[in-house]
Amino acid sequence: MSSHTASSSNGGNGSGDSGVPKRNSKRPKYSKFTQQELPACKPILTPRWVVSTFMLIAIVFIPIGIACLIGSRDVVEVVERYETECIPVLNRTNKVQFIQSDADKTCTISMTIPKRMKQPIYVYYQLDNFYQNHRRYVKSRSDEQLKSASKENDTSACKPEDIANGRGAIVPCGLIAWSLFNDTYSFSRQNQSLTVNKKEIAWKSDKQKRFGKNVFPKNFQGGGLVGGATLNESIPLNEQEDLMVWMRTAALPTFRKLYGKIEVDLEEKEVINVTLMNYYNTYSFNGKKKLVLSTTSWIGGRNDFLGIAYLTVGMISFALSMGFTVVYFVKPRLAFYNEDFQMCPASDLWSMVPLVDSIRFSYAVDSTTRDLVTLPSYHGTEVLDRTKNVCRILLMFKTHPSLPIGTEALHHFGTSLLIVTLMSMECLKHYIDSGRILLV
């Protein structure tokens, strides 16, 4: 038969059917793909792998965690909450009314530097309960308009802050720009004022590409209600860094924004006086306002989270690797073969022996001698005196002439798999009673 010759002539190592295929033969062509024999690695999550993976994670994570923590601890941060303090005591019953009035809102607070702060010192304001991520708020802007002067009238997304009454489009339009933060801070120490550098506080990409240099504020805050800061109409948007910072909307309702930089070192225990103009209304929605002075390190501002997370995960991994190691020794795996030497799922065993939590079996069968052998001691099993204890099991195997699993399997079980031959409940009980099967 030609198909025979075809198949026997190509004994080559899988390079396809080199034999002359019979004409009209529908014999499928050999390919590793269709025969599903693509070379593959077969990862098996053996205990050794589990333990070493955990170990590896621990080894990598703990140092990183420590480094992060140190980096974060290097950062000196001073936070001063001021939204209540900066309301005159008399007005504190109705803060909203005060903030909306024309009263003088100058307010002075002082901050004590706990530790020497190296320049640059970053000044942030932090708002609370302010939903910059609200759907209505986020989309209320026009990126086109911000970028180029020609798209000035592209304000469809900006409602209701899109067009000033009769004066054309508002630039920059939308709720985000409209609600621009307008508290201002000026710092002094020992009556000597500290300059706050308000340059380079926005991301470079914002400055260069997103905000146009020919775009000038127009009709801004000209409406009936003033939401926040006003903008100098002679300065193009790409230099209005406060606006850029504000318009990079925050992800969470609690957020910090960069206000400026103080480019001198501050010494420990120095008292910094801050004169701030408390214009911004967070009182309507009970929002907090905070002033933050912070240095940075290689990791950025003060944020212990990463460090703690790394450290915790590293330690948990270490503990797990230890735990798994112990558990594997104490409580080895099992699968078992029933009377017909057919593999049963381990769960069937539990249904057969409902009262027992787990059973440790210590013997297996040598296929050549059909003798019972004890499993290697590194499984944590004790070495048994086979003459005394295992006679019944031996008998059992004598009645079964063929065994599918033999010694070589036994060796391969290596890490943790034991074979269990379960003969009957009585037998099992006997072994449990006599202590040869350990209950864990």
Binding site: K42, A251, L252, F324, R333, P345
Partner: protein, 1231 residues
């Protein structure tokens, strides 16, 4: 492509006639006079006159099985797609997302939906294209058509009603005309003339009903002469016949010819799809064409089956919808509460749109509900269905269809998955319903052993014995074939003691002589072909008979000619070695075989006047009729019978009786009387036969092997171990069925057998009385009694710990009553507790009933396997239908979901492909569930911190491409390549299959585990990323915005989800690496480009990547997210391992099985002769009560009727069985 579509359109235009003929359309006025309006009841056809037929507009002969054409493709295809709930849902979401309440851009939903639709439509188009090409091949097959007094080869599609055509026989195709291949009839034909004498032709109807025995059709005497072109041109007839219908066995019509009306019967009709045999060619007139032919009218729409897993998937999707709704409801309520004018920066004054109007919180909540639905729509994995479809499609077309393990070289047939819907269903089958003939057996009877005068001859070993020996651990020794061994069709016997005339030297050579003569004389076989031993073929109603006659031939008693009264036998070595003489025996009477008599006798007269009755039959009936004495021989022979029976052989006892002329004459008178009686002829004949069939002398017994398909017992054994129960449903007699069940190891003597048969004396007695109502009532009572008894007994056995395994044998008549609604439960209870069930003498309908009984009653997953038309109903009733392809007709294959060439390939189909598919699909589904849930949940957690406003966390395009690009490919790779254990291990440990039956990989528990993992991971993603990103990032103290953080989170999600996929892989090929790496890379490439182009995420990735924070998070978050799963997997594998994991570990250090070597083995295993050469002598033989009588004679009546040219109506069981005549598939010689 476009050309193809054009052609497609052409072939589709069934309503218009093919107008490619050159004859100009005659004007109506000319032909009007002859046109008669087509009455609805009948059609009038003018043979050989195209013009006359023209006005009637008969349909053309081209067929089309395509679903779409060029115009209908888009609307119809889209309609099909939107019948899926998921697609409809996404359409709805897409529409919703175009409204202003949507937080996302419409592209988010439109892009994935259109991609999914596109892929599905491309697949549909591809499949339809293939169907179209198939049609084209068929439509363009050539056939000789009479045109201008010449035979002209035209393609089938050009045929028209009324044409005279000349289909040749496929065997003679080489020498006749231009038509060479597959000489099937192209349309339904009226048979006019044949090259055979007497206007007879032989046809094979395998394509219609699976029967391969030849049927005889006879033309009307008046038309016999119209064979040559010039003669045929003169043939002008008018035919009036019924309208096209789907009844294969009826036809009514008249031929008005030479002013005479000749009635037509089915005997003159040749149906499309049949093929001509033993006839050089015939001439016929086309009656029905194309889709109006009977076979096409019969072609049923295969009901599309959905897998159980997919139905369960629907439930999962529903659960997801519920989750979605709950999430949206929470968000909606939250938004109603949150919205407040105090957030002045949101400008929520009076003019604000309703969706944010604090004055109407309810409206806000309702609108937010819709907003959130569009936002969370990703929870429903849109690409799931299309991915699964793609995976299954590749699985079936690339893996199943191209598996070399399932390629059968002898018949040159690879496996064929006809549907790709059911791949994973193959991994969960619990019940297999199998046909017997042609499925378990080859329908090939071989004379294998015999016992003559108390001596066993024949040294072969049956498959059953081999299997038994291997189970007992005995090594099978190879026995060299001796030089005397002869193996031909029907004869596979070797014993040097009696071959080549050596029997003369045997001590019992007289018995031998009688034995051989009995074989040569006592039969109803017709010899055919050349009268030489090499060339002759025997036409027999049953393959057993042919085997026996062939055996006689090989023993030197060559039966070569039969006349109505004589049988001619060429006997060698009788007088002395080497001498040959022709002897003619006069056949005086034939006492035919039937199922009650279970025997057959022939009374013959030797040339020397000796009168002998030769009888062969079942051991039980023969032994009853033996003459006294010679008990030793009887005992020994009985022992032999039992031995044969347990080896799975079919036995017959042979006996003879010398008759004195006086006895014969007096008996013959009675016989003639009985034969000519008009009432109860059958019964009277039986009674008369009883008179002479007594005082027989036993000669011996024959043992015929009903040759099992290769590897059947081993396959069944494997399936048993896999937890699959195999039921045999056969139209055969109970004895045959039990015999085969023994041969296949379905039943053995250790089993407790429950036999419910209608062949009991009590039932027969009632039947003889003939009152139908009474019979029905009585049998029902009996069946009920039996069932109750068996059930009680079975329960008793089940309660004892080590009771015997149970088996049930039931026959069709009892089954009919047992399937009655009142008894059905009992039957189901009993049969489900049985290890194996054999139903015999069942009709095709009953096969289907039994199948659906288990399918619906027990809610188990069923598979039916069969090869013939009688199995079609069963194949369609089961969850999965498997057809045996390569040998017989196409009906079973056409109805099936999978077609394989051999029963044993079921092992590969189920244990390897089915199991893998199941595992893979489960993984794919659960993974889809996980990745979409995880993704959506991060979005959900974000909603809580945006004042429930429904602000999206991710950019639109992130969201829309998440499913279709960033996580799409790896999961498909897993669906294709994941492999827990190798194919050979799957077969070595069939028990692994039980995991599929128990459905352990797609339980709610599994889904919930994944859901927990999703919740955990999404919490990690959201909170780790947001918390750690607060405060200044990088040393310049700048702060991240929303899009920076969401991009960070999305990066983590993409990395984690892709790595999670690797974690669940059992085998990782480089495709895994490429796809996983590629997906992650695709994300980065995308974001690099996208962030330059898009406003809101402008430059974010560059901003992010300029900070150390990015790298720290990208390392931390995925690992923390995966840690939970990793711990779970570690614990699961160690303490609650799945079976496959244990096997993996056992064979961890073995290299992947070298299946290449295995394939070579498959190739070399294929000759049955070689396999037969294995033998053992020391096999311990158990004596059993089972003697294995079986003698099958399907359709005696119809066979002989056919021989006489009389059309006998089909009987129910005739369809259920088919006679032998299995000719080896011939590869047509080219040129």
């Amino acid at each position: 492509m476009s050309g193809g579509w054009e052609r497609l359109k052409g072939s589709r235009s069934r309503t218009t006639r093919d107008s490619s003929f050159h004859t100009p359309a005659p004007s109506r006025t000319v032909t009007l006079g002859r046109v008669q309006p087509q009455a609805p009841g009948h059609r009038t056809i003018y043979c050989n006159d195209r013009e006359a037929n023209l006005p009637v507009r008969f349909k053309g002969n081209s067929i089309s099985t395509t679903k779409y054409n060029f115009l209908t493709f888009l609307p119809k295809g889209l309609f099909e797609q939107f019948r899926r709930v998921a697609n409809c849902y996404f359409l709805l979401i897409s529409i919703l997302s175009m409204t202003p309440i949507s937080p996302v851009n419409p592209v988010t939903n439109v892009v994935p939906l259109s991609l999914v639709l596109l892929v599905s439509l491309i697949k549909e188009a591809f499949e339809d294209w293939k169907r179209f090409q198939n049609d084209m091949v068929i439509n363009n097959t050539l056939i000789d058509v009479l045109q201008n007094e010449k035979w002209v080869a035209l393609p089938w599609k050009k045929l028209q009603v009324g044409d005279i055509i000349r289909p040749p026989c496929c065997c003679y195709a080489d020498c006749v005309g231009t038509v060479k291949k597959d000489a099937f009839f192209p349309a339904d034909l009226l048979f006019l003339a044949s090259t055979n004498a007497d206007g007879v032709c032989y046809i094979e109807t395998a394509n219609l009903d699976g029967e391969t025995n030849l049927k005889i059709r006879k033309a009307l005497e008046r038309t016999w002469d119209y064979l040559t072109p010039d003669k045929a041109t003169e043939f002008k007839g008018e035919m009036q016949c019924e309208q096209p219908n789907n009844s294969l066995y009826t036809f009514t019509g008249n031929l008005i010819f030479q002013k005479q009306t000749l009635p037509l019967s089915p005997n003159q009709i040749l149906l499309r799809g049949c093929s001509l045999r033993n006839t050089e060619y015939i001439v016929g007139a086309v009656i029905f064409t194309g889709h109006e032919t009977k076979v096409m009218m019969n072609s049923m729409n295969v009901p599309s089956k959905r897998s159980t897993l997919e139905r369960k998937l629907d439930k999962l999707i529903l659960a997801l919808f519920a989750t979605l709704f709950i999430m949206c409801l929470i968000g909606a309520i939250g938004s109603g509460i949150f919205i407040n004018r105090k957030y002045y920066y949101l400008s929520l004054d009076k003019a604000v749109a309703t969706e944010f109007n604090p004055g109407n919180r309810f409206a806000v909540a309702v609108l937010t509900l819709f907003t959130l639905i569009t936002l969370y729509s990703t929870i429903i994995p849109i690409s799931l269905y299309v991915s699964i479809e793609m995976i299954k499609f590749i699985q079936s077309t690339q893996f199943i269809n191209k598996d070399l393990h399932m390629y059968h070289a002898e018949t040159n047939t690879p496996a064929l998955a006809r549907t790709s819907n059911l791949n994973e269903e193959l991994g969960q089958v619990e019940y297999i319903f199998s046909d017997k003939t042609g499925t378990l057996t080859r329908n090939l009877m071989e004379f294998f052993k015999c016992s003559i005068g108390g001596e066993v001859y024949g040294s072969g070993v049956t498959e059953t014995e081999l299997g038994g020996a291997q189970r007992n651990g005995i090594k099978v020794q190879e026995v060299r074939k001796s030089s005397t061994a002869i193996h031909e069709k029907g004869f596979n016997f070797d014993d040097h003691r009696i071959m080549r005339g050596a029997w003369r030297n045997e001590p019992n050579f007289d018995a031998c002589k009688e034995f051989f003569r009995c074989l040569a004389i006592c039969h109803t076989v017709l010899p055919e072909g050349d009268e030489s031993p090499e060339k002759i073929t025997y036409q027999a109603a049953s393959p057993d008979e042919a085997a026996l006659v062939t055996a006689a031939k090989n023993f030197g008693f060559f039966f070569y000619r039969r006349t109505p009264t004589m049988i001619h036998v060429r006997e060698s070595h009788v007088e002395k070695m080497g001498k040959i003489q022709d002897v003619a025996y006069e056949i005086l009477n034939v006492l035919e075989f039937n199922s009650t008599r279970k025997r057959q006798s022939v009374v013959c007269r030797y040339p020397n006047g000796r009168l002998v009755l030769y009888c062969k039959g079942a051991d039980t009936v023969i032994y009853e009729r033996l003459a006294g004495g010679n008990d030793d021989l009887k005992k020994v022979t009985r022992a032999h019978l039992e031995q044969f029976g347990s080896a799975g052989l079919r036995t017959l006892c042979l006996a003879y009786r010398d008759l004195s002329p006086d006895t014969y004459e007096s008996w013959n008178e009675k016989f003639i009387q009985a034969k000519s009686s008009l009432r109860d002829r059958e019964k009277k004949l039986d009674e008369v036969a009883e008179l002479v069939e007594r005082d027989l002398i036993l000669i011996g017994s024959t043992a015929i092997e009903d040759k099992l398909q290769e590897g059947v017992p081993a396959c069944i054994e494997t399936l048993f171990r896999a937890g699959i129960k195999v039921w045999v449903l056969t139209g055969d007699k109970m004895e045959t069925a039990i015999n085969i069940a023994y041969a296949c190891n379905l039943i053995n003597n250790d089993m407790k057998q429950f036999i419910i048969s209608s062949e009991t004396d009590a039932i027969r007695e009632v039947e003889d009385r003939g009152d139908q109502v009474e019979i029905a009532r009585f049998i029902k009572e009996e069946v009920k009694k039996e069932l109750k008894k068996c059930l009680e007994e079975a329960q008793h056995y089940l309660r004892t710990v080590s009771g015997p395994k149970l088996s049930l044998v039931i026959d069709g008549k009892c089954l009919m009553y047992a399937l009655d609604p009142t008894l059905r439960v009992m039957l189901l209870n009993l049969s489900l507790n049985c290890h194996s069930v054999v139903c015999c003498r069942v009709s095709p309908l009953q096969k289907a009933q039994v199948t659906s009984l288990v399918k619906k009653g027990a809610r188990k997953i069923t598979l039916s396997i069969g090869d013939g038309a009688n199995d079609v109903s069963m194949i369609q009733a089961a969850h999965i239908g498997v057809g045996i392809s390569g040998l017989e007709g196409m009906q079973a294959v056409m109805a099936s979901d999978f077609a394989i060439a051999q029963f044993r390939f079921l092992t590969d189909l189920l244990l390897v492909h089915g199991r893998w598919s199941y595992l893979r699909i489960c993984k794919v589904i659960t993974y889809f569930f996980y990745k979409n849930l995880t993704f959506t949940l991060t979005q959900f957690w974000f909603t809580f911190q945006t004042g429930f406003s429904g602000q999206r966390f991710y950019d639109d395009w992130f969201q829309s491409l998440y499913n279709v690009i960033f996580t799409a490919l790896p999961v498909i790779i897993v669906g294709l390549f994941d492999k827990d254990v190798s194919a050979s291990l799957s077969k070595k440990y069939p028990e692994l299959y039980k995991e599929g039956i128990r459905n352990v990989f797609f339980k709610w528990r599994v889904v919930i585990t994944w859901a927990w993992s999703s919740v955990y991971q999404s919490l990690v993603f959201y909170h780790f990323v947001t918390i750690s990103s607060a405060g200044g990032k990088n040393s310049s103290g700048k702060i991240f915005g929303l899009w920076d953080i969401s991009t960070m989170a999305f990066t983590c999600v993409v990395i984690t989800v892709n790595l999670r996929l690797l974690m669940m892989c059992n085998s990782i090929t480089r495709w895994h690496y490429i796809s996983v790496g590629g997906s992650i890379l695709a994300w980065f490439l995308f974001i690099f480009v996208y962030s330059i182009l898009r406003e809101n995420v402008f430059f974010v990735i560059f901003v992010l990547m300029s900070t150390i924070y990015f790298y720290l998070s990208a390392l931390l978050v995925p690992i923390v997210a995966l840690l939970g799963d990793f711990i779970y997997q570690g614990i699961q594998r160690c303490f609650f391992p799945y079976d496959y994991q244990i096997i993996q570990e056992i064979h961890r250090h073995e290299p992947d099985d070298n299946t290449r070597a295995g394939l070579l083995e498959v190739g070399s295993q294929l000759t049955p002769q070689e396999e037969r050469s294995y033998a053992i002598s020391q096999l311990p033989r158990e004596l059993s009560k089972h003697t294995g009588f079986a003698f099958d004679s399907p359709g005696y009546e119809s066979f002989f009727a056919a021989q006489l040219g009389v059309y006998a109506p089909q009987k129910a069981w005739d369809v259920a069985r088919r006679a032998s005549m299995k000719s080896k598939p011939k590869t047509p010689k080219r040129n």
